[in-house]
Symmetry: none
């Protein structure tokens, strides 16, 4: 993108060490655009910010500090949008702490697209992953942009599902990340990051070069919820960071949705806690669309696939019987043995077959669960 | 039990062909006890009931019609309680259509014991059966009588679980059945019926000799919910009769509770429908006891097992440290951050966990406080 003096001043202001969002917004409100702020003497700046920060600003724009970012902006796919830009997500103007600028890699049009946050545990169950993909794809088919945090587990699955939708009616997908946009974290999501950069967008409030820092991840959650009409928690343990996103969504007056699961699954305990507190229980993407109602104007999808496209292959009778006994809750092999009247040895071989055929998953602790 | 003329008159009135509950209660209200009703001329009875029914009553008590019931009452364990008896379930006096008398086999004291309905699908999953047994046992240990319909599946499991509890503190179990009490339906539950007759009770509003008739089963559901403080639906398909019981419970201003499950399990779809309509999501028996609150005065259980053995109550050291620093006065997160030496971001996630686990509360203004 073309870098003018105005943008340089925004960038330089955002890079002033120790200048928090609240103070930066105070300067913008009281003095004006960043170019004007840099032209203001320290004696006046001191009325709004601490003395050491006023002194830094009064020294003017530090061109050296901008070099790496300006180099990054050489790529046509990379952008910076500031609070003053039309492309800045208008939804963020209603949250308490909007970043003064955002780094964007990919499609700028998605920043103001109607969106839904789809989040959940990193340590997800196979069924949780399937649900995240299926809901995200279906919601994208309906025209909603799927926003998540590109973390392992549910987040990545939500992005993948949304990107499966192809065509003009799709809502696309946006990742709000906790590092500089020159980094990919976690590294295992490199391919996903490239796909998002090409077909969706990655957004960060953190400067180019920012490594993964634990404190930055909860912080970016306010942008995930803030850019969204609502927040769907697909699967969450009681310690999942996605619960922070859900709470921020509530604070920002967004709808919170949660998918229920077995009361014995640790990965559903966070979701159930949300449901007890009033989150809306959803079983299908349609539940969310109905709840959003007039908030979201759905575009007609042309060829919407069913949510669950895993057609169960033909099963042998005994395999079908095992699936029947397995139910949809995690079960250990001893319990299953009692239920089926088969020995553990007999069962083990059959369970392996079912696992390889994709009908069941093995969970941590040797628990078995039906996938479909 | 001793059969006097008064009881014979109650029984004869209840056996008048075509006399519905509403008309019978009108006669009781306008004329008086059944003996007085049978002494009333048809010309007066006709002001309250149809002519053919008035004529039947005016013929006096048909002793032949009572023979089989009187024979059944020879067994000391068999009883009839009428609207005028102290043993009649007082909770039923608040429902729109209380039976004028009930046949009871077993413990009369359970008719006015604090109770919870535990119901669900006949076609239950193995996990659903386990949940029904575990919840019923735990609630019985807390002193609640478990009321259900003795159907296959969840109902039978609920009775079994409740009867597992042994000791004076147990709440016992009552089956409300849809046949005469000289029949057992379904036949597979014969052993359960015998156990209920010995350690709990079976109740029917249908005369001795009444076979299983489809129309009678939904009807007895109002007694299941009516005798209960609330209704727990353990697992229900969209066609489960237990949803009728849940709806009746709502109409009778009883709490409705539901256990969530996989969105892919047909046996959870009815439960999820209830949860969408405002039923309370429960993960453990304790959730129900807390919700019933002052409605239910729990008796101290001597040897109460943990409700859910997947639920680690142990706190991680860091969580314990936060509680220590929190003290028992409201504190804001900045103060707590200073006390703990953790960043606000680190703290936020940990505070949320503690909140969801019920250890702390968030007060207005973002203040945190220990709950215990």
């Amino acid at each position: 993108m073309i870098v003018d003096d105005s943008l340089k001043a925004w960038l330089a202001l955002s890079l002033i060490r120790g200048l928090g969002g609240e103070s930066a917004r105070r300067l913008l409100k009281e003095i004006g655009l960043p170019e004007a702020i840099f032209a203001t003497p320290a004696s006046i700046l001191k009325s709004y910010v601490k003395a050491n920060i006023a002194a830094q600003i009064a020294q003017g724009i530090d061109e050296d500090a901008l070099v790496s970012t300006l180099a990054w902006l050489q790529d046509d796919n990379n952008h910076i949008v500031t609070l003053a830009d039309n492309d800045y997500p208008q939804a963020l103007l209603n949250i308490p702490d909007p970043p003064i600028l955002l780094y964007v890699k990919g499609r700028l049009d998605l920043l103001n697209h109607q969106a839904l946050a789809v989040v959940g545990s990193r340590n997800a169950t196979p069924q949780g992953i399937n649900n995240a993909e299926a809901f995200a794809q279906s919601l994208s088919e309906s025209g909603l942009c799927i926003i998540s945090g590109m973390a392992h587990g549910i987040d990545a699955a939500a992005h993948r599902g949304a990107l499966r939708c192809q065509g003009n009616h799709c809502g696309g997908s946006v990742a709000i990340v906790g590092t500089g946009l020159d980094k990919v974290y976690p590294a295992a999501n490199r391919d996903l990051a490239h796909a998002l950069a090409e077909y969706g967008a990655l957004i960060s409030e953190f400067p180019i070069g920012t490594p993964p820092l634990a404190a930055n991840f909860p912080r970016r959650n306010r942008i995930i919820s803030g850019m969204s009409l609502g927040c769907l928690v697909v699967e969450a343990s009681l310690k999942s960071g996605s619960l922070i996103t859900a709470r921020l969504a509530l604070e920002q007056s967004r709808d919170v949705f949660a998918i229920p699961g077995s009361i014995h699954s640790p990965q559903s305990k966070g979701s159930h806690a949300l449901l007890k507190q009033g989150a809306k229980l959803v079983e299908a993407a349609q539940d969310i669309l109905e709840e959003l109602g007039s908030l979201f104007i759905s575009e007609p999808a042309t060829n919407q696939p069913p949510l669950d496209n895993h057609d169960p292959q033909e099963l042998e009778t005994s395999d079908a019987a095992i699936l029947e006994h397995l139910g949809h809750d995690p079960v250990n092999v001893e319990t299953l043995s009692t239920r089926c009247g088969l020995t553990v040895a007999e069962l083990s071989a059959m369970l392996l077959t079912l696992e390889l055929a994709g009908h069941i998953s093995v969970l941590p602790g040797g628990m078995y669960q039906r996938v479909h």
